[in-house]
């Protein structure tokens, strides 16, 4: 049993973890005809809490409640795995680490750059850009694009949908510009 836990705890190569992510597609289809996707959960939360007579949120969210069970599970599963089944070591390219050290970021084994992104920094301009503004763009953009990395890049591409390829290329284009020009500007604030 201990050796099994040790085996799980070590960092996994991409060719183990990637195919397992792909298996979420048939698992959800077979469990209940559900298309793999995460960002819709935020739409259902809006429809549930503050529909405000907006037609986009005027549907029976109760029929989509599986998605809220799913994202609650993501939070729980990630918590258990990060705390007990992970080495908490991430093998990041040293070149990136030395670039980021200019901005006071040194520990790549956190999930987020904790030196910059924390509760103390939240009400600084940098903190607001990295949480409030960044998060807003994620929520607004995924709904505008009708899906995220899960719904388009994994589920849509797996189903050979050309429109999901367009969406995925747009995600990547925005990300390249942002990571190379916008993120450094924010970190300099």
């Amino acid at each position: 049993m201990n050796s099994l836990i040790e085996f799980i705890r070590q960092p996994w190569p991409w060719w183990v973890s990637g195919p397992l992510i792909g298996l979420m597609v048939p698992i959800l289809l077979i469990l209940g005809n559900k298309p793999f996707g995460v960002s819709s959960s935020m739409k259902h939360i809006c429809a549930m809490c503050l529909p405000a007579n907006i037609s986009f949120f005027n549907y029976d969210w109760k029929k989509e409640i599986w998605n809220l069970f799913f994202v609650t599970g993501i939070l729980l599963g990630a918590s258990i795995t990060w705390n007990w089944l992970s080495s908490q070591q991430i093998d990041i390219n040293p070149k990136l680490i030395s670039e980021l050290s200019k901005y006071g970021i040194s520990n790549p084994n956190n999930l987020v750059p904790a030196e910059q992104l924390n509760w103390q920094n939240l009400v600084t301009l940098k903190g607001i850009m990295m949480t409030v503004v960044g998060g807003f763009l994620v929520g607004f953009g995924t709904r505008y694009a009708d899906g995220c990395t899960s719904g388009h890049s994994i589920m849509g591409l797996s189903n050979l949908q050309g429109s999901s390829l367009v969406a995925t290329c747009s995600f990547m284009a925005g990300g390249f510009v942002s990571a190379n020009f916008i993120v450094p500007a924010i970190l300099k604030l």
Binding site: I21, S41, L75, L85, I90, I92, A145, D146
Partner: protein, 140 residues
């Protein structure tokens, strides 16, 4: 209660996905920066191999007419294309690099103890709401 028991399987599926997200390291802000600086193959390998497995799975489901656990036929409804896929996609991409998280990893980062990401998640929900509010006025 009936709702709870009929959906509990999706909670477990989510737990499995949350665990895999952590092990795949795609929830790391640093992995996202590496990907967009072309400094590592990791993210491309994860996403690429996930798509290949997903693609083969769907082909097998169609070929062998595999049914759900409740013996229903499996139906996949494709999304309807609009130009919003491009505009929204670019906006999401910008946010993805800033936060280091797409929607799934937002939940996973909170679970992993980066509690400040709760603010990011709330803001993402607010962004979703504002999209719904502005939808009739936006180009699609």
């Amino acid at each position: 209660m009936k709702v709870f028991f009929s959906n509990i399987k999706f909670l477990f599926a989510g737990m499995l996905f949350g665990a895999i997200l952590i092990k795949a390291e795609v929830i790391s802000w640093f992995r996202i920066q590496e990907m967009f600086h072309l400094q590592s193959f990791h993210m491309y390998g994860v996403i690429g191999s996930a798509v290949i497995v997903g693609m083969i799975s769907i082909q097998l489901i169609k070929r062998f007419k595999i049914r759900t656990v409740n013996n229903e036929a499996i139906k996949i409804i494709p999304k309807t294309y609009t130009r919003g896929f491009i505009y929204g996609g670019i906006i999401f991409g910008i946010g993805w690099a800033i936060t280091g998280a797409c929607p799934g990893p937002l939940f996973a980062q909170i679970g992993g103890g980066a509690t400040v990401v709760v603010v990011t998640l709330f803001s993402a929900i607010a962004g979703t709401w504002v999209y719904g509010y502005l939808k009739p006025k936006l180009p699609h």
